[in-house]
Every structure is written in C-alpha cells, then in structure tokens.
Symmetry: D2
Subunit: 460 residues, 4 copies
C-alpha cells in the first residue's frame, strides 16, 4: 500500500484545501486493471459512441466532477469518457468492499484520474476518501447511494458531527462560509441507485435539498435493465463464486420484489431453484404470486430456505427472530445497496463464538448447534464475491450518467431543487444506440399509425 506525496491546491480564501493526489492499493496493478477495463469496454458500445462525441464537443471542459461510485472496470470506462469530455474528475469508492484495486491503479496511472479507494478499507479510511472527493470542490457530483450528497448537506446543515470520522474532523476545520460555498458551488448531482433516490426524495420532501438531482435510476434504460438483468445475473454469480451451491432443487428466499428482486427471482428460477418471495407491498406481493412464485412472511420462509437473498433497500430484513428458525447450512447474502439488510450484529450476538471463514467470502456463524453462512459480510454480494454488473448493462446506466451530467450543465439555473428523471427522449436515444450496437432493427410508425395514435375520433 502506498500513497503519493500530498499536493497543495489553492483554496478560495486565506485557508488552503489540501488534497492528496490519490490513495490506492498499488499502482503496479495498473496493467491488469487496464487489460480488464479494455475487456469491459468491448461490451460498452453506447458509452464509446458518447465518448467519440465528447472528444469532439468537449461539453465538460474544465468542469470539476466528484464521483462516488463502485470502483470497477465499467466505472473506469465512464470516468475516462468524462475526461474525454474535458472534465476534471476525481473518484472515491461508494462501498469499501467493491473496489477493484487494479482498476483504481489503472485510472491513476494510465488515465491520470485521482482515485481514492482501497478494497477492504476501514470506516475511517472510507470517509477520509469521501472527504477527498468533497475537497475537490465539485461543480457536479455523481453518487451511488447518496453518500456524497448526504455528506455535503450534513456539512451545510452544521451536522458534521454525525458524519464518518475522516469527514468530521475536516469539516470542523472549515469555516462556515467555506462549508456553505462547497454546497453552493454544486450545479447538480446524479444518483445511480434506488436506495440513494429514496434518501434524496426524502431530502427534497423536507425542503433540505440544495440542488437538482438526476435520478439515473429512474431512467427506463437504467432500472429496467441494470436492476433487473444486471442485479439478477450478478447476484446469482456472486453466490455461485462464493459457494458453488447447486441452485437446481434448492429453495431460494428472495426478500423484496422490486425491479432488483424480480431480476434475482427470475434468475434463481431460471437456474432451477424453487423461489419464495417476501414483501411488504401488497401489489408487488400479488405480482410475485401471479408470476408463479410462493409468497409468505419471512417468519414462514425462514425454516424453508437454503439460500436467502435480501433485495429490499430496507433495514434488518433478516434478524434474530428469523435466524433462530433457519435450517442448518442456510446461506445468507445481500443484494441491496447497504449492508444493513441482514442484522449481522444481531446474528453475532446470538452465535456461539466468533464467525469463522470457511471459504473465501463465506463466514460460518454457529446458532443453536446449526451453521448459518453469511456471504461477503452482508455487503452487496455481486460486488463482494463477483464482479458486479456485466459491462453491457452498465453501458446503459453509465450512458445515462454521462448524458445526465451534460444535461445538468446545459440546464444550469433552469432546474429546481428536486429529484428529476432524465428526459424520456434521452432515454429512448440510449435504447436506440444499444439496439444499433447489437445489430437489432425495429419498426417505425407509418404516417397513418402516427395519425391514428394521436386521434381520439377514430377507431370507433
């Protein structure tokens, strides 16, 4: 592990904001990161097309962007697309366990993009990295879970004592005007995930939000694809890499039947599992029933499951009352954004002794003479034990990110302090670019059809 010498950057007032150039595991991993990023880029034709345009038009020239995203090969392709557009971008991790150290190295060494992310970093270091991203004084921020925007607002609200260790001290060292200037300087932000959008909408509702946010997750070309097909495949992939479990004939309990949960359930079933769904929303529960799945409360599902997957965006979905009902050998994993869906503290407190690592990414807890296995410490299993979403699906999500950034800049001053979705036209354009890249042609409306659809007097 090594850090480059710090470099001073002129602040706006008498004080100076000092940032380190980067903080990564090992720059020598760069060639492997480059090789793997090149592999991902092969499956990202939409972003490649955007990049070609960005290189010509330079719509982001000189714009400071702080991105707080999973540091993966696909993110690397996004970051270099932003840079191709002229942006002055830095990147920190949105999850301590999802960082791919070789990719971080590649971005620093080959792309000259400051990265602050080390796989397995502790809480202090994690928040220290968020601090670096804030200290970049971004004009635009990009979030995956709203940690950056949340921190910025806590800062401005004077509630920095509630923030993580690294940020807290730094915030305390700033003057009020500096703190306020940080938030005031932000033109807008993008948010990648459902969990973040929920938090941001709560902020907007409370009148706290200080700038417009584009909920990338609300784009069709994001949530219909990334959440369903991406989460679906990569979650099961994470489970298989961690366990090599035979899914055929097993009973998989999926908590949550939103887009992500639907994707996970579909893939589990496609792999031959019997799927049980738990839900709190009656409409989604009914959809699961009509899709031929069993629906029941977690209390009933707990003794039946061989594998439990939480995909709710909620808190303590699996907790001691469920652990004590589970079968010997039950496997627990989380596919939701934060590692709060499985109550690990509760599990630890009821277990005999400390958990034991029985296989990479697999910890055994002994409860009442039975073994429960938790994957990836309850963090996103697709990132902890596999490689996250396939590049092909991130291509569309990140095309939304890139175009959302451009849209925020173009509409600077014209947007309200609330959560927007990207205009449907941009959404459809991304879908069209993807289809073209796949070689799929579709129909277009004839003039008669267009007329028919807009008329209310015909058809009778």
């Amino acid at each position: 592990m090594r850090k480059e010498p710090a470099r001073k950057i002129a602040g706006k007032g008498k004080k100076r904001i000092v940032i380190q150039t980067f903080d990564i595991r090992d720059p020598s991993l760069a060639p492997e990161g480059q090789r793997r990023t090149a592999w991902a880029a092969r499956s990202m034709p939409v972003l490649a097309a955007i990049r070609r345009r960005f290189e010509e038009e330079r719509p982001l020239a000189g714009v400071r962007i702080s991105a707080c995203l999973h540091v993966t090969t696909e993110t690397a392709v996004l970051m270099s697309t932003l840079k191709a557009g002229g942006a002055d971008a830095v990147l920190c991790a949105s999850n301590p366990l999802s960082t791919q150290d070789d990719v971080a190295a590649h971005l620093v060494v080959n792309e000259g993009i400051p990265v602050f992310a080390v796989r397995g970093e502790n809480e202090a270091r994690y928040y220290g990295h968020i601090q670096k991203a804030l200290a970049h004084r971004p004009i635009l921020t990009m979030d995956d879970g709203a940690d950056l925007v949340g921190s910025l607002h806590m800062l401005a609200l004077g509630r920095w004592d509630e923030l993580g260790p690294g940020v807290r001290e730094w915030a305390a060292s700033l003057e009020t005007a500096e703190r306020d200037a940080l938030v005031a300087g932000v033109v807008g932000s993008t948010e990648e995930t459902t969990t973040g959008v929920i938090r941001l909408k709560a902020m907007a509702r409370e009148g706290v939000l200080r700038f417009p946010v584009i909920a990338v997750n609300d784009s069709f070309t994001k949530h219909l694809f990334d959440n369903r097909y991406g989460t679906g495949q990569s979650t099961m992939d994470g489970v298989l890499r961690a366990t090599n479990l035979l899914l055929a004939g097993s009973t998989v309990v999926v908590a949550g039947y939103g887009w992500c949960g639907k994707g996970v359930a579909q893939r589990a079933r496609g792999a031959g599992a019997r799927v049980i769904v738990t839900e709190v929303d009656p409409v989604k529960a009914l959809e699961a029933v009509m899709d031929g799945l069993e629906v029941m409360p977690m209390e009933e599902a707990a003794p039946r499951g061989d594998l439990f997957l939480t995909v709710t965006g909620d808190f303590h979905v699996l907790r001691p009352e469920h652990f004590r009902l589970m079968k010997d050998g039950a496997i627990l994993a989380n596919a939701g954004h934060f590692n709060v869906e499985i109550d690990l503290e509760g599990l630890r407190s009821m277990a005999d002794g400390e958990p034991v690592v029985v296989r990479e990414h697999v910890e055994e807890y002994r409860v009442n003479g039975r073994s429960l296995f938790v994957l990836g410490e309850g963090r996103l299993v697709n990132l902890a034990a596999a490689e996250g979403h396939p590049a092909s699906v991130m291509d569309m999500s990140f095309a939304n990110q890139a175009l959302a950034v451009e849209y925020l800049l173009r509409n600077r001053g014209r947007l309200e302090r609330r959560v927007y979705r990207i205009p449907e036209e941009i959404d459809r354009q991304i879908a069209s670019m993807k289809l073209a890249a796949m070689g799929v042609r579709i129909d277009s409306l004839t003039p008669e059809q267009t007329r028919y659809l807009s008329s209310w007097t015909e058809g009778t």
Copy 2:
C-alpha cells in the same frame, strides 16, 4: 331475437326521450347466463367483499350509470355490485362480437338491469345500443374503449354526423340544449383499457374533455394483472380454441411489447413457442431482447411466423406488404382492443376470391397460392374465440371500476377535466383484499424499518 315493448321516459324539456327497456338475443337464455355468472363470481372475492359493503352503505343510491363494456359473466358481477350499491345502471356492449347472449339475458331477467347487446350485431344496431346508453342521461359513465365518452363529446361538439348510424339520427333529433345537458350532467367516467386511455388523454390535451376520467387501466391492480396475466392467458386460449394448433415448436410473432404484449409473449413462450417480437419503441424492444426474445421489423418476421398476434393498440400493424411475405398456413389474430390492427380490407383486396370459413372462427384467405387464416375476423381473439379474461383477474379490474365510481361521486366537483389514476391507496387496498382471499400473508414494516426508509441521514 325479440325486443320488449318500448317504454316512455320523461325528458327534461318539451321533447321526450324514448328508450326501449332492453335489446338482447333471447331472455330464455337467462338460466344458463345465471349459472355461468355464478361460476365466475366464485373467482371474484374482492368484488364480493365490495358488494357486501355497498349493500350496507348504498353509496350509489339513485345514481344513473351507463356502462359500455364487454357483456360477459364478470361484467354481470360488476353490474349487480353497482346495483347493490343503489345505482340505476344500464349496460351496452363495447364490442359487437364479445357479447355473451346468455349473460345479457341473465342481467335483464334475474337482475332487472337493462342491457342493450346482441352478439354479432351489425354497426347500426351497435350504435343504436350506444344511443340507449346515452339516453339514460348518465351521471357516471363506464367505458372500455371510450366509445361512450367519445360519442358524448362528439354530440356536444356538434359533430354527431361523424358518429355511427343509430346515434347520428337521434343526436340530430335533440336540441342543442339537450345535447349539452347530456354532457354537462356527467360527473365523471371510468375507462377500462389502454386504447381508451390514449384517446382520452388526447382529448384532455386538446382541451376538449368535459369531465374527469379515472383511467382504471392506470391502476397497478388493473394493468399489471389484467393486461399481463389476463390478456396473456386468454389470447392463447382463444387461439387454441379456434385452431387447436400445437404451440410447442411453432414460431409466434407478437407485435407490441407493452404489458399486454409481454403477457402474450410470456404465455406463448411458456407453451413452448419460439417468440419473435416487433416494436416501434426502442426501450420496449430492448426489454424484449433482454428477455431472450428475438426482435426484428415485421418485414423480417413476416416470412418466419406460424402465428401472428397483434397487441399494439395501433392501426394496420399487419398489412399487404407483410401478407405477401407470409408462409402458407400462417395464422393471424388480434389481441388489441379494436379490429384495426390487421388490415383486413387490404388482405381481402389482394386475396383470390372471398374468404372461406374453414373452422369456427377461422377464415381462409388465398394469397398468391398460399393460405392465410384470420381468427375471429380480426377482433379481440380472446373474446371472439374464448371467454375473455378469467374472472379472477377481472375481479381486480372491476374492483377498481366499482371503487373508481364511488371515488368520482365522493370527489364530485373537486376533480379537474383530465385523466386521473385511482389513488394508490385504493390500489393497494385492492391488492391486499385479493391476497387475503387467496390466503396469502405478507410481511409488514417494523417501526425501525419505517423510520429507516423515511430517513436520509442513516445508512451511510
């Protein structure tokens, strides 16, 4: 065929509006209609629960309702629910081919509800029946395709010459004030189907719409279930009853990948068919691709399909340029609301001789030495050749209808002249009632979870 003697009803002015009590095929079919309606009612527990409340509360007491719906057993259950709520309701058909004559008889004879619907009625009689529904001077209307609301507005706009034969003459006989009073008297309407909603939104956009409309189709408990599971199953059911075709191993071309198209594609695939999708919307096309289906323009699909199903809500989706490419023996059917999706005139004009009925609901057209078979004259194949949606799914759609009618009355004067969806709370309530009736229990949020979801400061 028989008609009851006409009965005079006092009009509002010096003129008198004369309506006939009913117009149905044969009252003696009532027992069969009753028996079949009782069978459907078994699968409609949500509507049964609403009915029990309506009988007590009488929320529709004395309210004149004109409904223009498919006259099926499920509609009969809805009509008697409305009556149980105190409504003075009449019913006409929303499609000349979908009427179940025994059900019409049952409603007239056993329920005392005026019905104007005869299966296979010609255009004049069909519009004559719409006229009867209008002449009921409804306070609330219920539509499935917006024919009633459309006619009312054409009337008010003085464009009745564009209406069907029966309505036209009657409209001409009214005075302007009477015509205007008809529209002015309407508190609101409900609309069942996507096609109708498209028309109504166009009317609202043009500023023409005169009263609020609840788009029942926009309810989750309607379009997520009725469109997908109902249309999916009943369309394939219609095809099988008409043809007894082996779906396994056949190539089914589904035009349109909206909720209905998704349902049809899913069931076709579930029956072992290879499914090809055509679309004009790139996002929907991409979804179809990601669902593992082939997507291509109709021009390419035409020579490959064994069975073509149109589910677009659009006009002339299959037309001569496609017919001439199709295989000998290709089967064509429509699952969209109106019989305009297959260009039958175009087909007829290019065919050798008149079409020949080779099996009930199957007409053979000879084109270039090949046979193309059209099912149910291009009308909704699930109603023409089978029994429409299963009662279980109509239970939810019609629970939305019944509660939408109640909601419109309760909010009389408080709603704008536009298309609404039913409040999500009512939607969720319907889903909960359905789950309860199925014996399915679900989880509810713990207080901690509720707090977590509404907080934006946690989770970091």
Copy 3:
C-alpha cells in the same frame, strides 16, 4: 341417432358372424367432420408423405385392420392413410367420451370406412362396438389402451364372462375354434399409450400374449413429443375450456412426473401456476425437485391445490382421504388414460347429494360444506373438454402407427410374442420428415467425426 341396416357376412363355419356396417351418431354431420379433418390434415405433413408412398406401393392391400382408437380428426387422417395403403379397416372408439361424432360421420360417408363410435355411449354400446371390431376378424389390430387385444385374449382364454356386456354374449355364442381362430389370425398389433403398454408387458411376462405388439409409445417420436408436448398443451387446454380458470397465481398439483406429467407440469408452470408434484418413484421425484418444483405426498398437497391433475396411469390416486383435505373450490381433472385415477365412487359416497353440473364438463360435489369440482367425469380432460392432442403431434404418433403396421406385415413370422419398439431407424426417419416439413435443417457428421465417434483409441 341412426343405424344402417345390418348386413350379413359369411363366417368360417356353419355359423355366421353378423356385423352392422356402422354405428354413429348422425351421418349428416359428415361435412363438418370433413372440414375439421381437412384442418387437422394441414398439420400432418409426415402422414401425408407416407400416404403418398402408400398410394403408390399399396403395402396393406386387402389386409383387415381393426383399430380401437380415439375417434378424432387426426385418427381420421390415419384411417384414410391406411385405406390409401389398401387396408380393409374398421374403427371403434377407445373411450366412450372422446368420440367426435362429426368425424365418425365423415369417415363413414366420405371415406367409406366402417366406424362404431358414438360420443357418450354407455358401457353396453361401447363393448358392442368392440365386438364389431373383433368380428371384423382382423389380421392386424391397433389399440389405445389395449382393450381390443385384451378382449381378444380373454376370449381365447375362455374368460369372456369377465368382458363387457356386448362382447360377452357374442363370445359365448361362438364356438371354441372360432374364438381361437380369431386370435390365431392376428399377425400383430400396435399399441398407442403407456397404459396399454404396461398391460401388454404384463401379458408377455405371464406368457399369455399370443402375437407381437409394437409399442408405438416406446418410439422417441411418440413419447418424447405426444406425451410431453401433446398431453401438456391439450390437458391445460381442456382445463381452460372447462373452467376459464386463471392459471397464473394458482397452485396446480400434478400427480405423476412421467413424460406426460412432465409435459403437464411444464405447461402449468409456463402459464404462471405454482406447481406441486406427487410421485411414487424416487428418481422421478428427484427430477421434479431439480426442475424447481415442489414435491410432497398427496396428503400434504391436498389442502394446497387449486387444481389437481392426475397423470399416473394408476388407480385411485385421488381418494377420500385426500378429498376431505381439499380447499373449497378445488378442481379435479384426469389426464391419464383410464377414468380410474380419481376415485369418483368414493367421492360420490362422501358427498352431500348428487353432483350438479354447474358448467359444461364441470360437476360440483359438496363435501363437508365445501365444493369440489370434477371435470369431464374424470375422463381424459383433453379429450372430454378440448380436442385432444394437436394434429401436429399426432402426425408423428400416427406416422409410427402407419409404419408399425407396415413393419409387422413385412416381418410376419419373424417376430416373437412380445412387446417391441419400432426400429430406431424408422423413428429417426420420422423425425427427419417432420423437421423437413417444418423447414428446419440440421448438421450431419463429417467423415472425421464419424470416425472419431467409432474409435476408442483416439481422444486421449
């Protein structure tokens, strides 16, 4: 109902065997039968190809064939194929409820083939018809359930008092030599169904079987297709026509996971049902588990099912101990060959009052205040309430029948008294003809590949 005047035929001895020319519902139904048979023939290209060869080669010239098969449009195509080959064939029903009266009329009137089958005939008439088929003194017999071969052997064994009423008296009237001559004259038989094959193998095992039998059911191109795809689709089709039940979200209990049960389970699941399987064979049960289905004893499944389908070939699979556990509204149907899988006598004896027909093909039994609904009187639901297997799949089954008949003749005297399967080469030839008719091309082995596959020294 009418019968043609009887016609006398010279017997072999002093006695005379008297047969009637035919016994069908109504000859005037012939045009409808012809029209429907023509529709089926469109989907039977393999049999059409065989027919063209038969017309030329006349391999069955003058051969008396007695067929005991379901009298459907597809059987009509087979019978006229046999006739085209020169056969002197007669046909009786293999199930009293499956006869399509218009098809029977068409065969008699347009094809000149004697048919003895009336839909809904009682036991006496049913066996009377079998007697006619026996009295034809067949050289070859074709069976679907082994009723013809079984009767022939009971006759020869002198156990005719155990046979049905019509056959019993006639058999008693014959002299021993005549009875023996009947069996001795048979060169061989074909058997269509699993149930029949089980019986025939028991006969062979006991040393009772008097001639070789080709188990058509053992052909790949029969059981892999007819049983799975044919039974699967047509069973669900029968259920839907009888009930219009929404399968999505329902719980379907499939008893038996042989080829037929697999097909039924696959289609039920493909229609959105949750499927529970019951089995007695641990290997098949394990397959069902691995296919993602739930497996449990019927006792546990009984209170969960909305729909029960028996597909076992066994006796009293659903019986009073299960009926008393079932939900109000449960629906029971049989897809196995004989109507013995549901213990209807047991059900009747525990029910309050007589069963009531609540919808065509649906009888309601009241048990402990709950309603159980039996479809098609427990007979094959795909034939009782729908149209049996689609023609396309019968094309292959009946191609096996036609070629098996030819094979038996060609190998007259060379086969033992046991149950054979058709040579694999004929089987493969049928598959190739089907693929060709569907326009599907496949690869063939290169010389190197052929060599590789036959060598055991390579590959290391």
Copy 4:
C-alpha cells in the same frame, strides 16, 4: 513444485515396479484443500451415509483401486469414502487443467492417499501420472474418459507406442507377461462420463474389452442430474467467471442437445439468452424445436452467436469454416469431455499472430480483422474457469461410483466383458437417500395400486 522421494514396491516378477508416492504442486496447500473439501462434503449427504456404512462393513478392505478422475473437492470426498471402506486407492488426474492443487495436497497430507496430479501439467507429466496409476496394479479402476482403461488395453494389445510419452517408455520396459498380468488382474472398472462410455462400448463391440465396466453415466441418478443440472449450471458459471458477459439478450449457440446440452441450453435460457441449438440427430433436434429453441446447421448459427458452447462428445464441431463466419467478439467454449470439439489448431492456423491472453482463461485470436475469444484453451470450461459440478450433484454421481465398485467386487466372476449399467434398484436407493437428505417425502403405492399396475385384465 516438489516431489517426495520415490519408494520401491515389489513387482510380481524379477523386475520391480517403482512408483513415486505422489506428485503434487505443493503439500503446504493442504489446509486450504481440507477447508474446501469440508465445504463440499456438507452438500454430499448420500456419500456420507455410504461412508458410515463402509466404515462399519469395510467391503473394500485391501482392494487396490486406481482412479483417474478430475481432482476436485468432491473427488476427495469420494476417495476418502473408498478409503473408509478399506481400499488401497491412488488417484491421478483425468484432465491436465482441472486439478485443484490444494485438494491434491489435502488428500496426500491429511488422508494419506497417493495423488499424481498438478494443474497445468504438460502431456509428458500427465501420462507419467497415468503410468503411476497403472503401476499400482489395480484390482479395480475408475475412469472419467476411459484414459486408464484405454491405456491398459493398448498395453495388453502391444500398441503402447500409440500411448502418451510417460506410459510408452514404461510399457516398453515391462515384459509381456507383466503387461498382460496388469490387465488380467483387473476385476472391473467404472466409467463416469458419456465420452468414456462411447469409447468403451466401441471396445466391447470390437471384442477387445477385457473386463466388465459399470457405466456410471448410464445411471438415472447420474446422467439425469449430473449431466443436466451439473453441467448446465457449472458451464454457465465457468463462462461468467471467465468473461462476466451479460447473458440476457445475448445469443448462445449450443452444439449438441443430449442431456448435457439440454442442461446448458436450459440454463442459458434461464439466464435470459436467446438459444440456438445445432444437432446431427433428428430426434434430438426435434426436441429442441419443440422446447421452443431455434435449430439450424452450425454454418447458419456461426454468424449469429455471441457465445458458442460445444457439448457433443464429438470432434471439431467448430472449425475454420465456422470461425470465418463468426462475429467480432464471439466467445467460444467447450463443455464436452475432451478438448477436441473446437478445432484450435485450425483456428490458430488462420489467425493473425499468436493468441493473446486478455483476461484470465480468455485468449483472443485475430481472424480477418475480428476477435474471437476462446475460454480455458478449449478444455471443459466448468473445470477450467469454475469449480466443476456443484458438490450436491456429484454426491449422486459418486454414490454411484462407490456402490458400483462394491457391486463389481460382489459380482466378481459373474459379469461379462461388456458395459453394464448399475442395477435400477441401487439407482432408486440413491435417489431415495438424496430425497431424504433434502427433507422431501414422497408417496408410496397402495396395495390396490400395486395390484392394478401388475394386472392386465383390469382397467377396461
């Protein structure tokens, strides 16, 4: 890499056969191998039950067994089961790329079982290891691909010059009697895979086979599960680990629709891919069509596939005439036993320059300006890039192995020199044990049902 000092073992004649105790990568890997083997053992309850009985009964006491199997955690569980039964067993690899070095170390260090296997070993070392297994003078052999049995017979036939380098020299050094004694001493063998069975049946047909072989692959509890569910899941797992490709929306070409191919196709489709099947057998091709898949010659499939998977057991299924038609970016992998299904030499000879490793297990070949990617050097992708079959499925395959070994010993002298399948009773017993371990209960026949099934006079 290290080798233990060689140890001398007395030969039968004046010469002495010298074997090394083991040849593995690194004994210090043993703890990891032990930990991972323990994880696999959790999913192998059937073998655990057999082991408990073996420990008591010691049915293999002193029996020399040479096993040539993939050296994986599951094989380790089998080997220690054999040892628990008293066997004197040694193990060599059946594939140079599938060896898990930590497992090899675990077997040697913790179980005291001689292992000869190093992942990535070259041809000379691979055959040297087979030589060690032969030199153990086995009474029973266990094969996965028939390499051991094949070598033994080549030896006996005096054709050792056709064998691999290591074996060749050693064989030449033996006297004829010694070579013959080696084969003569073998009581029987078991064979795991289809490919091996094909070779062995060819040997039996040619009258070359010298002892009975149990084709474990012919057991229902092997091929219905291992081939379908095991190969299906692990092949897709291997592809995902190697590529992180999004399967949803991709086109997967599966060459071969046997049990393995069916499993692969099912999982590919379950993951959202569009699946194209190629076949040479018309019956299997027709099954694929009826399963809703597209079937075409490889020549037509080549330009369509994103991913090609060979599962045929045949030679050069993908060859230059196909490579030149493939899309830029096409991925090629093999799931068949031997690495001969993709003609890699042909590919190499038409490529520009040497293949480049672009990601672990992924080699890029440049052909006509396009990139083709080959996974795992064309070897079994589930073993090369993932962990082979899940333990749960190997539990049954290896239960068959263990019981087959016991069966061969018990029936010493009573079996012919041909390929047998394990008796169905043993097969059913394994299925029952597995169901019990999964907590699944099934029905059993009532006495009436048993009687019914064995009777041919009932049912009419």
